[in-house]
Symmetry: D2
Subunit: 286 residues, 4 copies
């Protein structure tokens, strides 16, 4: 499917008979060719309904500008829908916040550079200068913003300014706790990779926690960021078997593979408009 002709609609609404029929007929009548349709309802009746529609636009008989209001009037109002329409050609701008660990960052830049993540890289921002060179090799702007205790509010303000124009912020092992105020404007548009299988091992140094507990599997969790640390909606999790032979360092090395994998998937799904959030949980139409 060409990126130029692909559009995606995400819908959330109270479940009622007739939704698929109304939506699919609307798009058919307007010349859109539906190439993918996923739906889910939280309950057989009276639940909340979710839909993801992917369609091709070459034969659309209304302009892209007019399509939204037409849909609102013809369908969305009647079913009390919350919805968003995205054209794949309008690539999302992804900013990445990182500290010193480069594995999650590089996984994203690497996939992006080989067209496996369809987005633009807006910027990389770090509280350490260490990764500047590595980032700039990819032709991506790098900003160093120190986060010492004294200057934290100023630092957050500066970062918020740098993020202007971004559509998605990824915390690729950013080791600073961000304030609720900072996070607020990025609801369901900020993804964090936590280096444990949440809700196990919330908080600091999860590999040490996993080692102390003697678990037989370690994991990583990609989730949307909310004010409540490590409690946001989970998008993806990966796990890997370990044994008593793994010390904290080798747990960390293995875990970093899980982090790369889980984060890369979560980011791709977000970029392809595959993730909806409801009741602090995600619906992922993968």
């Amino acid at each position: 499917m060409s990126e130029q002709t692909t559009a995606r609609l995400l819908i959330t609404c109270p479940d009622r008979p007739g939704i698929v029929s109304a939506v699919s007929s609307f798009f058919y009548n307007h010349g859109a060719n539906i190439t993918s349709l996923d739906q889910y309802a939280t309950a057989p009746e009276q639940g909340t309904y979710f839909m993801r529609l992917e369609f091709q636009t070459p034969h659309l008989n209304v302009s892209r500008q007019v399509l939204p209001s037409t849909f609102q009037d013809a369908v969305a109002n009647r079913y009390e829908m919350q919805w968003s329409l995205n054209f794949a050609a309008d690539r999302k701008k992804m900013a990445i916040l990182v500290s010193k660990h480069d594995h999650a960052l590089l996984e994203l830049l690497w996939r992006w550079s080989r067209q496996a993540l369809h987005c633009d890289i807006h910027s990389v921002i770090s509280n350490h200068p260490d990764l500047a060179e590595e980032v700039q090799r990819f032709g991506v702007p790098f900003y160093h913003v120190p986060f010492s205790a004294a200057e934290r509010p100023a630092a957050e303000e500066k970062v918020q300014g740098l993020l202007q124009g971004a559509d998605l912020v990824v915390l690729a092992r950013f080791m600073q706790i961000l304030s609720a105020d900072f996070v607020a404007p990025w609801t369901h548009r900020m993804i964090n990779i936590h280096h444990s299988f949440l809700p196990a091992f919330v908080g600091a140094n999860p590999y040490q926690q996993a080692y102390d507990k003697g678990v037989k599997l370690i994991g990583a969790t990609a989730h949307y960021v909310t004010a409540d640390l490590d409690q946001g909606p989970i998008i993806e999790q990966s796990v890997q078997r370990v044994s008593h032979r793994h010390d904290v360092d080798s747990l960390r090395a293995l875990g970093q593979e899980m982090e790369r994998q889980a984060l890369a998937r979560a980011v791709r799904w977000h970029l392809e408009d595959r993730v909806l959030v409801h009741a602090n949980k995600t619906i992922v139409f993968d």
Copy 2:
């Protein structure tokens, strides 16, 4: 979702714009509440289109008897659809063919007895008498049909007779090769579990083959049976890590867990009308 009110429609047709709209509108207009809809096309354009629709029947405004012809006239003809409509309450009748190994058979009977497989057990037929008692404990009829070389054609005829009235035949480690004639009436209604990760290790004694080759993963494959041995459409595969420490016996023991898992899933999907076949491959709407 109550089994009493659930119906499922499977469609295969040439891909064309308007199918979702036509189908969903038809059911909406006839009072059916669509609770699940999956679709897939083999190509962005000009491909083959597949749909699975699950809907609830309480408010249907046509009788179950009339629904098929109404759908044929109103929708199926226009789109050249091949389709089948199943009511969950009409439980499929499953027959099981087995030899001496009981693990795959027992996994199915066990799940069935705890309502995890929604079907009736039609019968269990074996070329050995060994498992009679174990099967009868479940209140299931057991038939012993010897398959010695001399009496093979007669044996096949006898089994074919016993299978009268079955909707699905499962070869749960049935160690006799069945003739093309025997198999023919059961196209896409006969499931075999092969004890390897096909297409690796076709044929006899795959665990010995896997051991000789020194693979690091072993698997099992559930597939529809065709005249061509071990070449039918694959429904499900499971794998498990192994190492040089596994001898043929321990590969077999581990592999039997994979067999149980893959077969149980494949059978459940078939019973729930989740499997379509096209070009010797399956589309599984799981």
Copy 3:
């Protein structure tokens, strides 16, 4: 390896140079053929050292009765070893406590009945009468001991009495909380299956908790029981991918497969003397 000739030695001691040499030379000099040797130390130096030795006894030049004291005098004293010696032919006697869910129980009985678990079944004890018939089919004694609130201490006493002679107690989804006093005599000889990926979802109804949290993987944990609920040393964990489409019931159904798998492995490892405990964690020489 024949069960009749196999013996296993488990050792824990302060790590020091020369242990492997001393142990392997001792057994070589006494005619034992070492067929498996695993070792692990918690640190490169000054750590705690663990060894599992499997050897064949046909050419042993001391009697089985004398071997322990000879080993104690010749090797164990010098290295301050804690150790245990087990002959595979002395099968452990396994008791199983269960409530109403039969899946974990049946997995164990089933594997046992096909010689995949090398033990004797001592008894099955339940606080409900429901599973009596199913257990007796296997030729295994079943005891029903009600656990109503009023009679709990008496019930525990009765169960403790029934467990006389058992070597291992498995809680195969036993839904009563056992007192510290009850548990005390069974340190590292009582295995529980918890229906979550611990330490996530400690306590009651973990599938509901997992559903509410929206995790993308569910699991099961087999662990030794300690006075502290769900906090004992973890022996094995299994996980399985899930999605938003899984409701609590389907999480439970999938989870039960994980429970069966994790418990069966943990029990087998214990029976084969593959598990050592140190600092509330297990060393599993699998």
Copy 4:
């Protein structure tokens, strides 16, 4: 464990009682501290025996130069051992052959640059010039050697010359078939990554083959190279679930993750002297 003080011994010999005792006593008596010992025999009796010993050298009472001949005289002769002794500080020199696909190459360079692969990079050689810049960024020499049909023998000769001094050659998706003569000097020192779960889909374009067959899992295989294409001893395999929704391109994208994972593991195991070969199969002491 410090790389400076770590040594590893690999042994293959006919199985006989007394080997562990002889080897461990030898090293203990010469002041080596054994920090890891793994063994395996192909049969309970009369089989072939394999051992990997890791020990620390600080208190060795013979020189590293004299140790080999001492071991040969004192132990190896008696047990007809084939053996090799490696000091971790003598890092292996790894050469990489690659064509146009960069994912496997970059995974190796990336891990190497972050000290996750303990080796020196000898060189990267390609039949295409495309990856020169990317390789040189890592400070690694890059050689372009065209492999057109006419000049193949000359090209092989040139590459063989460039490989002078390498200890290990990795074919990181090198798309040229190498002659038996070229391969011969590198027995068990040349690792290839094949982009399928061998022995399924031998030969060209395995992702297309997997797609045509409709398998539900795809994989990758890292193996030692022998004259017989894709038939060498398997070191590691990885698999990943797929569905009918994956076209050839998305199978390839997913498969590349498996290739990276399987190859990186196989290379690490080889570098750490964890792999022995016997009867065209590997023993991996991981």
